[in-house]
């Protein structure tokens, strides 16, 4: 026992203890500023956090009044949330992994913009195009890396300095690898050169056991349209959300429901189960929508099919339900039931592409369709699907105006 300097041991333990508790007090000033700075730098936009509350003892992080501004349009924000609560599993930090036992997002508001090609982005299309060389996944990964790095108790006692890693011996220039870091202000990557043994990663590095979303509002901006489609009061839960689903034995499960439009009675309900463990591809998606006001959604469909522009839909309420299932990578045959109530629409024949058709108008009717989903190659355009698949429809109160001179003998075959 005479070998040990007890005052030094006491001093180290005291310093660790002070560091352990002082973090809670410093969280809302120092850590919040750091978080805002690094998040803004990583996303290349302004990120503001109202309050940050870090509890190391409980291993929880609470962020309040989060605001992510669109990088191009400063008056527009891409994401806003009243509170985000994260509860981590500290033991996994020692394995260089980040496990969130629970993540809760309350009263959030997201703006999604549809691009010309039909993709949805959090940012405005201009900002999205500017950021295309750095995928959002990398940005998110950088933020998560930084968060994991700063919450990691191991790092408190052993911070790795940037210059030390850079001082590593450089002998083999042919093989090199990079590690992303946000510690350095000027450059954001540290470069290791030389041989590196690839360690087995038979588990996901990032896992959220339960992600709860309460009262989330989404504004979907269709391409080149300024008025959004509003999805309101969305509640949902996602279980076993991991960065590497192929390495995680439990499937991702999702449950969500919400309302469409500010004042309409339209609602949607989705449940999904995705199992990708060990190369499996098993997906089950059950969905149901009811009373969706169709003209609002038509602008959203524009990038996918020219039919939406041809049809001048005045009114119509869509109700649909169905199941989409993939088992062992193959589509399981099923069908989707669709019904349109109070449907009123018009189309001019020349636009439809049929020379004999003068115009088509359907007024105040209902339309039913059972659309088959089978294991044939999926169709990305509705018109292809219409041509190649036989789907069953029932239409009432419709009016066709056609040009008699262009009529063929077999025009009404199959219709009457």
């Amino acid at each position: 026992m005479k070998l040990i300097r007890w005052p030094v041991v006491s001093l180290i333990l005291f310093a660790l203890l002070i560091g352990f508790f002082i973090t809670d007090y410093l969280s809302n000033s120092k850590i919040r500023n750091d978080f805002e700075y690094y998040s803004s730098e990583a996303l290349n936009t302004i990120v503001k956090v109202g309050t940050l509350n870090l509890k190391i003892f409980r291993s929880s992080l609470r962020l309040e009044n989060i605001l992510v501004i669109d990088p191009v349009n400063k008056s527009r924000f891409a994401f806003r949330a009243k509170s985000i609560v994260l509860r981590a599993d500290v033991s996994k930090f020692f394995e260089r992994r980040m496990f969130l036992q629970e993540a809760k997002i309350h009263d959030s508001y997201i703006k999604l913009t549809q691009t010309k090609k039909g993709k949805f982005t959090f940012l405005s299309e201009r900002a999205y195009n500017m950021a295309e060389y750095e995928p959002t996944v990398i940005k998110i990964n950088r933020i998560l890396t930084w968060t994991a790095d700063h919450l990691n108790p191991v790092k408190i006692v052993s911070p790795i300095k940037k210059r030390i890693i850079e001082n590593q011996n450089i002998t083999n220039k042919n093989s090199s690898f990079k590690i992303n870091t946000l510690r350095n202000n000027s450059t954001t990557q540290l470069v290791f050169r030389g041989y590196k043994l690839k360690l087995p990663r038979d588990y996901p590095d990032f896992l959220v056991k339960t992600l709860s979303i309460a009262n989330c509002n989404i504004d979907l901006y269709p391409y080149a349209i300024k008025s959004p489609i509003k999805l309101r009061n969305i509640h949902g839960k996602i279980f076993e959300l991991s960065s590497r689903p192929k390495k995680h034995p439990k499937p991702v499960t999702l449950l969500a429901n919400g309302f469409v439009g500010d004042k309409s009675n339209g609602w949607f309900n989705v449940s999904a189960r995705i199992d990708a463990y060990a190369g499996r591809t098993n997906i089950i998606i059950d969905f149901a929508v009811s009373n969706i006001f169709l003209p609002e959604f038509l602008s959203l469909v524009n990038p996918y099919t020219p039919y939406a522009k041809i049809l001048d839909i005045e009114s119509g309420q869509l109700t649909a339900r169905g199941r989409f299932q993939i088992r062992k990578g193959k589509i399981v045959p099923s069908s989707v039931y669709c019904r349109l109530d109070n449907f009123t629409a018009q189309a001019v024949g020349e636009l439809v592409g049929q020379e004999w058709l003068n115009s088509l108008s359907i007024s105040n009717t209902f339309l039913e369709a059972v659309i088959p989903i089978n294991n044939k190659k999926p169709y990305f355009h509705f018109e292809t699907a219409f041509e190649k698949e036989n789907f069953r429809t029932t239409i009432h109160n419709f009016q066709l105006k056609f040009k008699p001179s262009d009529l063929g003998d077999d025009l009404l075959d199959g219709v009457l």
């Binding site: 070998l3 030094v8 041991v9 260089r96 052993s158 300095k161 030389g194 590196k196 690839k198 360690l199």
Partner: protein
């Protein structure tokens, strides 16, 4: 014993890359255990010099060690806490191996010199 251990720890500390997890661990050991400060500092300076001389050996040594038994190293180096040491990088592994080996060799040399050779010389002179 104290002088030999202090000098060896100093050499290991000097050879280790500054600020890494292992460097802090050895520094902690130096502070916690009653080391001979003068020997420790001498060893530290020696270690820094040795680091400059042995620099070119780090990468090939580390690569050789890691490739000698890949399965074992993969299993060991992915264990909790150890994964933070970055020992799967050839240069770091080589650096650490040479640092610890040098420390042990120097410890053994000083220990043998101080406890076996020097007493024998004293006895011979006294006779």
């Amino acid at each position: 014993m104290s002088i030999a251990a202090s000098f060896a720890m100093g050499v290991t500390l000097g050879l280790c890359p500054l600020g890494t997890t292992i460097w802090f661990l050895i520094l902690g050991l130096c502070l916690i255990f009653k080391t001979h400060i003068l020997s420790l500092l001498t060893g530290l300076i020696t270690g820094v010099f040795l680091r400059v001389i042995l620099r070119s050996l780090f990468e090939p040594t580390g690569k050789m060690i890691l490739l000698s038994n890949e399965v074992f190293w993969k299993r060991t180096l992915s264990k909790p806490v150890i994964c933070y040491l970055n020992l799967n990088v050839g240069s770091i592994m080589g650096n650490m191996f040479i640092a610890i080996l040098s420390g042990l060799i120097i410890f053994a040399l000083i220990f043998i010199t101080l406890n076996i050779i020097l007493p024998k010389i004293k006895i011979t002179r006294s006779i």
